[in-house]
Structure formats: structure tokens, C-alpha cells
Amino acid sequence: MTKVVGTRLKRKEDPKLITGHGSFADDIQLPGMLHAAVLRSPHAHAVIKKINVEEALKVPGVVAIYTGKDLEGKIGPVPTSWYVPDCDLKEAPQYPLAIDRVRYVGDGVALVIAEGRYAVKDAMYLIDVEYETLSPAVGQKESLKDNAPLVHDDIENNLAFHWKAGTVPEEVCEKAEASVKQSFYVQRVAPSPIETRAAIGRYNPGTGELTLWCTSQNPHIHRMVLSEVLDITEAKLRVISPDMGGGFGGKIGVYPDEALVGFAARDLCRPVKWIEERSEHFTAANFGRDEVIDVEIYGQKDGTITALRVTNTHNVGAYLSTMGPGVSTIDFGLMITGIYKIPYASCETFGVYTNTTPTDAYRGAGKPESTYQIERAIDLFAKEIGMDPVEIRRINMAQKEDFPFTNAQGLVYDSGDYEKPLTKALEMVDYQKFREEQKELRKRGKLVGIGFSTYVELCGFGPSKVAGGIGFQGGIWENATVRVHPRGSVTVYCGTSPHGQGHATTFGQIVSEKLGIPMDDIELVFSDTKSVSMGWGTYGSRSVAVGGSSVAIAADRVIDKAKKIAAHELEVSVEEIVFEEGIFSVKGSPSLQRTFKEIAKSANMAWNLPEGIEPSLEASSYFDPENFVYPFGTHIAVVEVDKETGQIELKRYVAVDDVGRVINPLTAEGQVHGGLAQGIGQALWEGIVYSKDGQNLTGTFMDYAMPKARFFPKFETAFTETLSPVNPIGAKGVGETGTTASTPAIMNAVMDALEPYGIKDIEMPLTPEKVWRAISESEGK
């Protein structure tokens, strides 16, 4: 058999998806199924005076209507899952339906259950809620002020948490020959999977089992949290993530709506389906980012950076989401120095409650923001001292011999060779030639620019003991079971839960190569808490590094056992057995052999097993890595700005990523492309905008600028491969490199294009209007 890992295999999951045979949440139909809708607050902040459901109950087909008061004592608050320590974290209880006060537009007020998806909406619109509106707190900086309205009366200054890490001695700053201070706003964006959220509950009163299909990136975390919220044992609660139309972090969160559906199904003893509408998604599904980042960078005129001070003011929304508190603290604050050997660094993060939809992890979660500030700051510093942006990066970046490299905040980067992707990317873009052309074009009044992002990100979450140390309410190991059936095909049960990444293919490749059996003989099972023993979910680019490693180890264990059986049958010692490409043979006598299928049968029949070997051929692994993984790379953007209109054209985009071992270059490239589109989207088009009343003015795809095909040039991508020493595959993570690297690359390119105007920064997204205004203002000076 030829090599499987590292080849561009077509995906196993595609045939059903291209022929309309996927099974997404809304495709599930159960006998007697009811529909649910959540009436949501139209106000950012208000007291609920009265709810009148009389007219709504008259709508034909309505079965039940619940308000927050109806559910008091019957269903618990939905907690956050990240109690970051030592930051005076104050959690306000988030009840699945607001009881007496609504705290953001989208806060649930009533749950309507009816026969049919139209009737449920008819009834919902007839519920009459009397509100007394209150002043809302909207922006994070304003909400921290003494006179700001309080989102939760007992939480002073709306301060959800105040976290600090690292110190920068004052004398280091004083001794610096140059420094730059800049404030950045990494704006709120919407993960926007094309499938919105959904939940379907089914309760069996005979067994007491509640089954919940929901759009979750981490069904086992959902089970753990909802078991508490709904007061049901984990053994009686089965959570299944069906096929999912994307997640991007937006489906990590355990949401009130999912708890409500579970509650209603149990209360009514009938299946209940809730499908979120897109406009509802824009008020009730967690957003990402929304961090104001103030940076001070200090250094010498020779380009050496000596210190970095960062303050992050993070808008967490009205409640703490599942992973929200960790994003701007651990994920962001420990990575602020990026790939650079900066001796001193400090980060102070303020988590601020506001009357807006909660924010949570979004593809990269904290690392895109930390990469943004350091990659922008280092460019500004280079400009300050008149140095080339590539040169300053080379002067400060950790060198190959520095690994394992400990950054200023104490994180140990597993492996790295930052020069390799940088050199490759510079070659691909032909940097020197570009600079020459830029000079010529500038003479002719053309504004072209080049921007760099030499990034590193922290991902591949475990190890679990670190999770405990940083207050994450979960383990971050993974498990896999490889079960070999009597006729030789294999089912693999995996803990992580895919939603577009192609785990069935990449994990299948790992198993296929290990066991020497064809891909078609391997089936993978994910995303069902009843079939899979445990799993901590798909986020933080952890699936291959942790879950894939677990699969590889389990497969190795299968081989170990199979070797013993083969040795017994061939009457040699185990040490004499070699296993290659699906054949067990005896060293030196290759004609003495057993195929994998033969051993599968032997093991399962158990007619003649060696002493001490139990029947069946199956092995499990529970893999907890010793460290995180740190993928890295260089991204380069080339842009042209039309000075008359402010329109930005992305001319070229080069991405060279080092994600460790690449299992399937085709799907890995796909991951890079998708991440790029989102990261570039953040820089140029996307952004959630709230009015001062706390209304989301960008609540549909008409107003929220989702990137389209024509917005992009053909991405030029490549990989370098520096293996990670912390897992048996050597893999890092590829899912979040695109969003992490691309946003600052684009920004730096536009600022380079605008250099003739002396423009240093423009707030994202770089809409033509903002760029045009910046040009006009600088011309007016």
C-alpha cells in the first residue's frame, strides 16, 4: 500500500453532502414533533412589567407558552465554563429566559411551542410584553466609567474580571530610544456559519432518557453543562451533534435555547424542534472579538524591541459565555509577544459587561487579536525608527536554536523555525522586485502596499493539568477507540466533533496508514455521547494534534495485540513479527504471514488465542499531550488603494504556514483558505455595529458584509513542515492560522500603501469611506 498520510485524498464525507443526503438538524423529523420559537427582547435594557400571552394561546396549534417566571426553580442558569483564576471574576446568572429584566436585544423572554413552524411564529408575534426601558451600557470603555448604567446591579463598574500577567519595569521603558503607543479596536464580528443554531429534544418518559440533537462543536461539554442546568444525570442525557453547517466558535457555547428545548421536550413529553432564524442569530448567537487593545512598544534604534505593554478592554456582552472569559485573558494575554524575543511584557485585561449579545470564541479566539496588536505594533515601531518591516522581524524573532522557546509570559513554544516560511514567502512574492515597482508606481501616483504577518499561535488544547490551572471547566485530552470487526473492517470512535473540517478523512488516513487497510474499510463515529465515551470538542485547532494522536495511539495498540496473535499462529515470538502494509510476517521468512483480515477474524472468533490474550481486536487511547502546539508562518498581502474612492483591491495574498505534519494537503489548504477569507473579512468588510441604544444595526446579511467570491484573488499557499515533539503525529493545527495571520497582514499592507500620506492607523473594517476620509484629512493638513 502506498503512503496515505500526506496525500491529497478526496473526502470520505462528501458523497452524502453533494447529493443531498446529509442529516442536518432541520432535516430531522420525529413523529409528533412540535416547533419552538423564542420571543426575544427588542430592547437592550428594560424591566419586564407584564407579559400577556392570552391572544397568543388562542392561535390554533399552540401547545404551550413559558415565560421566565414560569421556569423559575425548574431550570437552572447556564454557567460559563471558564473561571479564569486570580482576576476577581464575577459571574452574573444567565437564566434561560429573562425573569424580570432583559439585558440585551435578543435576550429570551418567552418560549412558544406549537404544531408547525408557521403557527409558532404567528403565536409569538401575539405575545404582548410591557417593558420599562432603561439606559443601556453599550461600548466597553464607556461602560467601565463610574456613571455608566449597570448591566447587573451588584457588579460595580460592569467589571466582569480584571486580569494581569507579566510586568515591565519602568526603567526599561525610560531607557528605550524609541517607542510607539497605539490603540487598536479589533471589532466585534459574527462567526456566521451558514447553518444557524438548532436544537431538537426528545424525552422518553418510560426510560427517563432525554435526547438532544443540537448544533454543538462539543456535545460532551453540552451534556456536562446541560445535565446540571436541566437537573438530569449525564447517563440519562444523550447529546448528538448531527451534520453541522459550520461553527467557527459560534457553536461552542452552551446556550439558553438548547436548555429550553430540552426542558420543553421533557415537560410536554413530545419532541420539540427549534431552528434559529438568521435575523435571530444576529441577536442571540455569540459574537467574536470586540476588544479595544492599547499597546505601548519600546525598543532601541537598532531595531531591538525591549518591552511591550498591552491593555485589553474586552466587551463580554451581557453574560459570560462558555469560553468568553478565557479569550481575552489566557488566549490573548499570554501570546502578546508573538514570535519575538521581547524580554519584558505585560498584559492587563478588563472584561466588561454591556447590554449587548455575549461574545465568545471565534476562529482563533484571542490569538487573532494578540497577533493583530503585535504585528501592527512592530510595523509601527519599524516605521518610527525607519527600518524595513522584514528586517525588524528578523532581528527580534526567536531563532531555530532557541526552541523549545519560552516567551516573555512564560509559555514554552514546542518547536519552530520562523526563518523558513519567511524566506519562502518572500521568494513567492519577490519582495525586492515589489519594492522597486512600488517606487515607480508611487511616482505615478499609484498607492500600492505590502504587508507582513509573521505569526505564531497557541493551539491543540491540552494538556489537561494546564486547563485546570487556568480555570477551564473541562479536561482537554481526547479519546479514540479502534474496533476491528470479524471480517476486517474497522469502526473508529472519536471524541472530537467535526463540522466541516473533514475528520473522517484525515483520521481515516491515519488509521489506513497504520493498519494498512483501504479507506473504504474504515468508518468513523463522532458526535454522539452515547456512542463515544468522551470528547472535549472541536475548537482551538486541537482535533488532529490531540484527537488524531489518540486515534494513532489506539491503532498502534490494535497492531500490538494483533502482532501477538499473529506470532502465536505463526509459532514465533512477537519480536520476530513485522507488520507492514497490512501484512504480519516473520522476520527473515516473509512467506510466513497473516493478513490484517485474517488476524481480525482470529481475534474475534477467539478459537485459538495465545495465553493471556482476551478476545476481540479493539483498543482505546486517552491522550493528554504534554504541551500545546504552536503553528507559525508568514503571510504577505499586496494591496492597491484607489485614492479617489478609498476602495482597496487585494492584488495578491501569499500564505506560508507551518502546521507540523500535514495529513491531507488538500483539506489543509481548504482550512487555510477558509480562515483567510474570515481574517481578511475582519480587516476589510465585516463588523457588528450597535447604535447607542444597543440595537444591532448589522443584523442581516444585507447589512453585515459577508465576503463573497469576487472579493478575493487566488490565494497563493504553501506549507513548511516543522514537526511538533509533543504528539506522536508531529501535527500542530491548521484551522485557525488563516484568521490569526491575515488580519494584520492586510492592515499592514494598506498602511504601507498609504505611507505617502503619513497615515498610521485606521480602525477596522477598512471601508472605502474610512480610507477615503483618512486620505482627505491628511491631504487637508
Binding site: 447604535s691 444595526l697 444585507m702
Partner: protein, 148 residues
């Protein structure tokens, strides 16, 4: 959101405009999409309006009140409406000024929107408001001309 609108009633004296704009029957006829308009107290009305803003359409029920009357120069118009697409809360200052050509009416409103009206309607709202107000004043113009 602020909405500013100015309309000039050519050749109509200020007093006539004032009288017209205070006449409840005229108001009912002139308000676009008005389905009912009932006086519930002095200068306070319960109304039902059919509104269509871009993709958002709906029937709004609400209260209309006129306060701070300073005849014939100015008054404040408070409108609170509620419908499927969301809620409207408007506070409008109306100024009537005598000019050479007749009377100039200036409307300066602070409008708060919720729901779909806010997320979808906000962008087109000022444009639509201008159309609606334009229709309204044109009707008032017609009615007032009959009184001159």
C-alpha cells in the same frame, strides 16, 4: 437616529397651517397608511398605522401626543408605535416659521427603533421617513389650501 425635514407651504399663512395640522380629521386623512385615529384625551390619540419600510412591513398600533404647544410657532409631537417588526419611539420638534413665500415647517426628530426595524430598517429609515413626511406635508398642504 435624527431625522430632519423641512417643508415650505407656498402662499399659506402660518395660522392656517397651524389650524390644519391640529385638526384631528385632517390628520387622519393626511397620515400615510392611517387605519384609525381616535382621540383618547386632549391632544392624545390612539392610532393604527400601516408602515412599509423597505423589506419591513407591518401594522403599528401606537400613541400620538402633542405637547409643549406654543401656538402658532411650535409644538412637540411624541409618537410611540408597536408592531411585529419592532417598536418606534419618536420625539419630534415642529417649528413653523413665516417666510416670504408662505410658511416653512421644520421637523427635527429623535427616533428610536427596536427589532427588525432597527436591524434592517435603520439604514433606509431616514430616506423612507423623508418620503413619508413628504407625503404627509403634501396632504396638509392640499387641505390647508382649501382653507385659504
Amino acid at each position: 437616529m435624527n431625522i430632519e425635514h423641512t417643508y415650505t407651504f407656498k402662499g399659506i399663512p402660518r395660522e392656517v397651517i397651524w389650524r390644519t395640522i391640529q385638526d384631528k380629521e385632517v390628520l387622519q386623512r393626511a397620515l400615510p397608511g392611517c387605519k384609525s385615529f381616535v382621540e383618547v384625551a386632549e391632544d392624545a390619540f390612539a392610532s393604527e398605522l400601516g408602515i412599509s419600510i423597505g423589506p419591513v412591513k407591518g401594522i403599528f398600533t401606537g400613541d400620538v401626543r402633542q405637547v409643549d404647544k406654543n401656538e402658532p410657532e411650535s409644538y412637540r409631537l411624541l409618537v410611540k408605535g408597536k408592531g411585529k417588526p419592532g417598536e418606534i419611539d419618536a420625539d419630534a420638534n415642529m417649528f413653523l416659521e413665516e417666510i416670504e413665500e408662505g410658511t416653512r415647517l421644520q421637523c427635527s426628530a429623535e427616533v428610536k427603533l427596536t427589532g427588525v426595524l432597527a436591524s434592517v430598517g435603520q439604514r433606509v429609515m431616514s430616506g423612507v421617513a423623508k418620503v413619508v413626511l413628504g407625503q404627509f406635508f403634501k396632504e396638509i398642504d392640499k387641505e390647508a389650501k382649501q382653507l385659504v
